[in-house]
Amino acid sequence: AQEETVKIGLAVPLTGDYAIYNEVAGAQCMAEMINAEGGVDGMPIELLIQDSGSDTQAAITSAERFMGEGVVSIGTIPFSDTMIPLAQIVGQNGISVIQAQSTQVEMHAGIVDNFISNVAPDPYTAAAAANHALEQGVQNVAIFTSDDGGSWSAKVPEWFAEVITENGGTLQTTLNYSAGTSDFSPQIAELRALDPAPDAVYISWAMPEIGILIRQMRAAGLDAWVIGSDGFDDPSLDALADEDPALLDKVFFGTLAPSQPGSRIDEFQQACAEIGHEVNGLFPALGADMVRIVAHGVEAAGSTDPAAVREAIRSAESIPVMSVEDVSFAETTSYALREIPVIGFENGERVLLSLEVPENVPAWN
């Protein structure tokens, strides 16, 4: 039966520990843009949003509710402990989980077959960042790991180090930290004791800890590169330039989609601001891609039947999205193989340093 609207459920964390990873703002903005142009095959897109409070049970409950309302797809907390059971449960009704920003490798191990992520898994960003580091002549690296963020904080630095060592570099030391660290002095003392001084440190984490680390390293006279992952891709990192643009001089990160000034994301954010949506940062912006992908699937399938839409998405040669020209799931089935941007800073302004699909991604599945 033909529905009059295309419904997308978002059982996402607006509060709680993972609140910064939700894709609501970009999705809302994109849905409004599409609806303003007549919708998808004449059907408007409707977003059903519920706060999961970062809690798995709450997310699944909301998802079950959405199922009753006939959604085409669902987005949720981008961590596998929620995405897997949720996908299993909504999969019984043929509904897909389509994530705007999930980089977790586990989701692509074949546990669930109704999962699609708009971005490439973590090893890609690690490899891209490592490749750029090698180009800068980085040889000796130290990495920071933590168990607090799952494989994202624990494994990604190791993948980075793997690429470095495979190309003749050295992993000098692995340092540990925990979420909420507000003083890295002990780790910095360790870094300072390294001989030779490290060329680069890698950490897959987010603000404000990153800011503290950068500041304390620079204050301690360590001028090694500080390299990171998509967690760096947040406006609050750029804000360090207000203190001192030099703080960001030797900082870069591999991320999910280009977000420097003049990039498509940047333009999208400005367009959204004009129609009254504040879309702040990478993760919120990527919600727009997710909406575009679903819209494309509905159009191609000619229906809102979730399974048909999923098939259509997977068989499409290219799907135009907001953040890059297009993505495709034809080869990978569950994630978009994208060019990975490496972004750095010049005088405190973001610049795109490289954009490639890395060839030398460490084995991850």
């Binding site: 607006l14 509060t15 709680g16 520990d17 949003i49 519920q50 706060d51 409070g53 970062s54 809690d55 798995t56 049970q57 709450a58 699944i60 409950t61 909301s62 079950e64 509710r65 199922m67 009753g68 961590f79 596998s80 402990d81 929620t82 995405m83 897997i84 059971p85 299993q88 977790q104 586990e106 191990a109 074949g110 546990i111 168990d147 607090d148 963020g149 799952g150 494989s151 624990a154």
Partner: protein, 345 residues
């Protein structure tokens, strides 16, 4: 000596009344409920078992403890690792040590193993928990929570940390957890009215007075502690068997706050309080979740106010503490509302 004294008989009546309430709710759902509400009910009953377990220690001994999520997690992981088929574990736990991914057990055996492991850990921790006093109990319980959580996070080869341990057979449904909840209610009531329960409550009021009356305070606390960990274990098993995927995340502070708030609202001194508190907060949270999405009420579109649910918990705790420090029920049990005691003037 199986003859029950007057309080214990009243306890059974009370437990029966509470069970009827639970059955009534399940009945209402069966008749008119929507499918997503089954999940709400399931989660509520799992929480109920935890809150009742909390009541057996916190309520009777009058200490605030926060380690229950840890024990629940231990049981959930133990049951999950035992029950998940070998073929699935090859994918989900490829690096597990000690042959953990090379065996599988029946659900019943897995549950028993989980209860056994959790109970043993309860006993070991209880040996020193029962010796601590005052705030020390709270702090060591927090230490247990943090330590267990760190181990979950760190030993990713066994627990997968904040990633998912998936592929657990989804064995349990609403019926199972309803039965478990009712068993828990009876067990907690009988414990409260037992000699140990009575001594524990006496010691909570006046430890020195109780010792002078021959109460072995440490032993009573130890027994209650171990019993309460078994409740948490049951809840953990039910959680894992229902969801099919677990991670370290749900077994931490957020869950602790939620369940403690439930207990406080109802009143930690009584089992009925634990039940009412759990039900009320569950309903309240669902209401808030619905309100915060900005529904249309009587033709008026309410504004969207996402994020209120967290606030609600805090407000409930503070308001209850300010206006009814002993919770809705205080010292009373459900049967005290229905059948007044003789001789009270």
């Amino acid at each position: 000596m199986t003859r029950l004294n007057a309080s214990q008989r009243r306890g059974l009546i009370g437990a029966l009344l509470l069970s009827l309430l639970i059955l009534l709710i399940v009945g209402l759902y069966a008749l008119w409920g929507e499918s997503w509400q089954a999940r709400v009910l399931y989660a509520a009953f799992v929480n109920l078992i935890v809150v009742i377990g909390l009541q057996t220690f916190m309520g009777n001994a009058n200490f605030a403890v926060f380690s229950h999520a840890a024990f629940m997690g231990i049981a959930a992981y133990a049951a999950a690792i035992c029950v998940t088929p070998v073929a699935m574990k090859a994918v989900s736990l490829p690096d597990a040590p000690w042959g953990l991914n090379a065996f599988e057990m029946s659900p019943l055996a897995s549950a028993l193993v989980a209860l056994g492991i959790t109970g043993t850990l309860g006993l070991l921790t209880g040996l020193f928990m029962s010796r601590l006093t005052g705030v020390g109990v709270t702090i060591v319980s927090i230490a247990i929570l943090v330590i267990v959580h760190s181990i979950f996070l760190h030993r990713t080869d066994i627990f997968k940390g904040n990633q998912a341990l998936f592929g657990i057979p989804r064995i349990f449904g609403l019926t199972h957890v309803t039965v478990l909840a009712i068993v828990a209610i009876f067990a907690a009531r009988l414990f409260r009215e037992s000699a140990v329960g009575l001594r524990l409550r006496a010691a909570a009021d006046d430890e020195i007075g109780a010792r002078a009356m021959g109460v072995d305070v440490h032993r009573a606390r130890l027994v209650a502690w171990v019993v309460s960990t078994l409740f948490f274990a049951a809840a953990g098993i039910a959680y894992a068997f229902f969801l099919g995927t677990i991670s370290a995340r749900p077994f931490y502070f957020n869950f602790v706050f939620l369940t403690v708030a439930m207990l406080i609202l109802g009143g930690l001194r009584s089992v009925s309080g634990a039940v009412f508190g759990t039900l009320l907060i569950t309903i309240g949270l669902e209401l808030v979740r619905w309100l915060e999405t900005g529904p249309t009420l009587a033709g008026v579109k309410l504004p969207q106010m996402l994020g209120l649910s967290g606030l609600l918990l805090g407000v409930v705790i503070v308001a209850v503490m300010a206006f009814r420090p002993h919770g809705l029920m205080g010292n009373r049990e459900i049967e005290d509302l229905v059948l007044p005691r003789k001789g009270t003037s």
